[in-house]
Amino acid sequence: MGPRSIEDLTAVLIENLNIIPGLIPDKYSANAGLTFLLTKIKEWIERNKESRIILFLDESDKFLEKDSIKEWPHVLPLKGLMEKTDKRFKVVLAGLHDVRRTIKIPNNPLAHFGSPICVGPMLEKRRPPRLSC
C-alpha cells in the first residue's frame, strides 16, 4: 500500500477517536469531512466539562508539507478547534527537522503551537564544579 492522501486524515481520525464513547455517532455519512469530525469533538468537549483530548499526529512531515501547499485545509481547522476549546482539545504534531522548517514558512499557523520541543540524545548534565576551601 502506498502513502495515503492527506484527505484520508478524517477517516483515520474517526477510526481512532471511535474509542471515546459518545464522540462519533453510530451512523454518519461515508463522506463525513473534517468539519463534521471537529464539530463532534467540540460538542463532546462542551458536554464533558472536565474532559480533555490530546491528539498525536506522529510522522507528520509529509502531511505538513502537503497541507502547506494547499494553504492549510487541515491544520487551520485543527488549530481553530484548539483555540475554541482553550486547548482542552490539543493536537501535537511530531516529525523530523522538516517540522521545524515548516514553522519558518511565512504566515504558517504553527506559530501558535507553542515552543517546539527538540527531542535529542539524553546526555548527562555536567556536574557543577566542587567547592574547595
Partner: protein, 193 residues
C-alpha cells in the same frame, strides 16, 4: 514391588495469577512488571537438586511459556548456592527469579507488598535484559527523564507545546506514548490517541 515404575517428580509447574504490577517502584524489570500483566509461570522445587539440574528444568520450560518464570525453592539456599545459580543463569542468559526459604522468611518481615519486594530482592541474583533499542513500544519501567517535555505537551497554557521534532530513533514516538500513558484516564475524561 517395582520401585523403578515411575520416577518421583521433584518439581511442579504452576500458573500464578497476581495483581498487575506497574511502574519502576513495583518492579525494576519490565519482564516481571508491566510486560507480565500479572501472569507468571511458577516452578516449585520441593527437594534440593544441583543448580545445574535446576537450570536445565527452567531452560526447558522457558521456550514453551510466554510468561516470566518464578522459581520457588522449598529449601534453604546458602550464599554460595544462590551465587552459583545466579552465575549459571547469567552465563546461559536465562531469565527467572528465585525464592528460597531464607528469602521467604525475610519477606514475611517486609511491610510492603510481597511480590514487588520479592522481585526487587531476587533481581540481584538474576539475569535480565531490560534494554531495547528497536521498538517504540517501551515498557513504562524503562522510560526515564523528559519531565519538562511531558509537562509542555500536557499543559494548555504557559510554556506549552504542540510540536515535537528531532532526528530518527531519538525517542519522539516513545515520548508521545509516555504522555499518552500518563494522560489517558478515561474515567476522568482524559483521552489521548
Amino acid at each position: 514391588m517395582n520401585l523403578n515404575r515411575r520416577p518421583l517428580r521433584k518439581h511442579s509447574i504452576l500458573t500464578l495469577p497476581a495483581p498487575q504490577l506497574k511502574g519502576r517502584s513495583q518492579s525494576p524489570l519490565p519482564q516481571f512488571g508491566s510486560v507480565a500483566q500479572g501472569k507468571y509461570r511458577l516452578i516449585i522445587f520441593r527437594d534440593r537438586i544441583t543448580e545445574e539440574d535446576q537450570l536445565e528444568i527452567i531452560k526447558a520450560l522457558i521456550p514453551i511459556t510466554n510468561r516470566p518464570v518464578l522459581v520457588f525453592n522449598f529449601f534453604y539456599l546458602n550464599h554460595k548456592n544462590r551465587l552459583s545459580l545466579a552465575k549459571l543463569s547469567r552465563k546461559s542468559k536465562t531469565t527467572f527469579l528465585q525464592l528460597d526459604e531464607a528469602m521467604l522468611i525475610f519477606l514475611t518481615s517486609v511491610k510492603e507488598s510481597k511480590l514487588p519486594s520479592f522481585i526487587k530482592l531476587a533481581a540481584s541474583f538474576a539475569f535480565a535484559e531490560p534494554y531495547q533499542t528497536a521498538s517504540s513500544n517501551l515498557p513504562e519501567e524503562m522510560f526515564y527523564g523528559r519531565g519538562s517535555q511531558i509537562r509542555k505537551l500536557v499543559d494548555k497554557i504557559g510554556d506549552f507545546s504542540c510540536l515535537i521534532y528531532g532526528g530518527r530513533q531519538l525517542g519522539k514516538t516513545v515520548l508521545q506514548r509516555e504522555v499518552e500513558r500518563i494522560f489517558n484516564q478515561p474515567t476522568k475524561g482524559m483521552r489521548s490517541t
